[in-house]
Amino acid sequence: MSDKEPLFSSRNLKLLRDPMGANNPITVQVLGICSALAVTVKLKPSIVMALSVIAVTAFSNVIISLIRNYIPPRIRIIVQLTVIAAMVILVDQILKAFAYDVSKQLSVFVGLIITNCIIMGRLEAFAMGNRPWPSFLDGIGNGAGYGVILIIVAFFRELLGSGTVYGYPIVEKLGIENFGYVNNGLMILPPMALITVGIIIWIQRGRNEELIDVS
């Protein structure tokens, strides 16, 4: 990698794009499922959660990448965890100060970003061996890949489960309820998040044959 490589070279852009599609952390690598089930009842907390994860992956990637040559390999996992934990506490404190109601809804799940395997996976697999800028893009890409799925799932769960989109009562305004339409309470429960993720995986693999597992 030369120093003259442009900031948004095709290789760097690929780092951003891949996790959104063919290498998505949730639908392809099946990581971070737990939080995807928990926070996707409403759109607003999911968006905040997505932004938090993007911030944490991006900045912990950069920090680890900056100090990657000084980290003793024997304690690298502990170092990674410390960095992640520090970033997550930062995010948590900021949410508590500036978005108190959302932070109450997300409750423990902000803290549980620490255990989100996507982040540690990216640190170990990418940031430990790459320069800060590509690591930053990789972090943004993976965080966004996670966030996109979260938002898609939350959109359907909120629309079908509560009849609202970002708190706006769309079903009521459209007047579909007059024809006997009832919100599906099951959509609010965690199992339906898993099924929605499953449908997304199905559609994605149906369109991209490379992802089909032949074995």
């Binding site: 304690i75 108190y100 423990v108």
Partner: protein, 276 residues
């Protein structure tokens, strides 16, 4: 891969931990005031909910000043404590005082009823618990209690709001209870929790649990203090002293019950003197 000496590893981890700790403390210190503001606003919103006033984070303070006309801190002997602000009373400390009192009272009672110990005392010298000393301690702790009261004026009616705090299954639970001016009928109650199980204990936060408290009585027919029970297995809606517990949330339900009892009984003198 480079190899690092043990000394390097020690220095590296020490420096890293110190940097991280310093960074986090700076952030926590600088964001602290804002977070406290948010918590205070939430408390105001909870108080308003208990007297059935809807509020948002934005207009909470304005509505609070409008409806909550007076707030003061009293001690169990009914005297107002000067220089104390009701919103700033540390309820955590009050709970630990209640716990200490209960424990001491139990130890005094145990001395009375343990036949084994009284039998054995003939042979072994137990360290005598000085009953008078313990009772003095209890009395001292009781006199140190701080009891906040919020007075709400709404549509020509007066309501009294008392804060509650107790133990749930995983962490603290707290809330507010509003009484009508007869100091007996519950006008509204609101509960919140730190980390109860979602779907089970956490349901105490839901309206459908809280609305059951409306109209219940805390004094029984003989005018003795009774509090409101949270009954496992359900109770009749006509039961004036009980509400349905939450299935699967027994420990949290029991926590709400003992929280109500422990917190409200301290106000007993206050209630009795203000009853009609």
């Amino acid at each position: 891969m480079k190899s690092f000496s043990n000394t390097y590893i020690f220095i590296f981890s020490t420096v890293m931990v110190i940097i991280v700790a310093a960074l986090l403390s700076v952030v926590a210190m600088s964001l602290g005031p804002r977070q406290d503001m948010n918590i205070k606003t939430e408390t105001m919103q909870n108080i308003l909910t208990s007297v059935r006033v809807e509020s948002t984070a934005k207009n909470a303070e304005e509505l609070f000043n409008k409806y909550i006309t007076d707030s003061y801190v009293i001690n169990p002997g009914m005297q107002k404590i000067e220089n104390e602000v009701a919103l700033e009373v540390d309820l955590k400390k009050e709970v630990s005082k209640i716990e200490k009192i209960n424990k001491l009272e139990q130890s005094v009672q145990e001395r009375k009823v343990s036949p084994f110990k009284s039998f054995m005392a003939g042979f072994i010298n137990f360290k005598e618990i000085n009953k008078k000393e313990v009772q003095d301690q209890i009395a001292k702790l009781k006199s140190e209690r701080k009891l906040p009261v919020y007075v709400c004026q709404k549509e020509n009616d007066t309501y009294y709001v008392m804060p509650l705090r107790g133990k749930g299954l995983w962490g603290p639970i707290w809330g507010f209870i509003a009484l009508e001016s007869d100091m007996n009928t519950v006008y509204g109650a609101v509960f919140d929790h730190k980390s109860e199980t979602p779907g089970l204990g956490a349901e105490i936060k839901e309206w459908r649990f809280q609305k059951e408290f409306q109209g219940k009585k805390i004094f029984d027919d003989d005018n003795a203090f009774h509090s409101v029970d949270v009954v496992k297995g359900g109770t009749d809606a006509a039961n004036l002293h009980g509400v349905d517990a939450i299935s699967g949330g027994t420990i949290t339900s029991k926590g709400v019950e003992s929280m109500l009892y422990d917190c409200l009984i301290s106000y007993n003198t206050f209630f009795e003197q203000n009853r009609d």
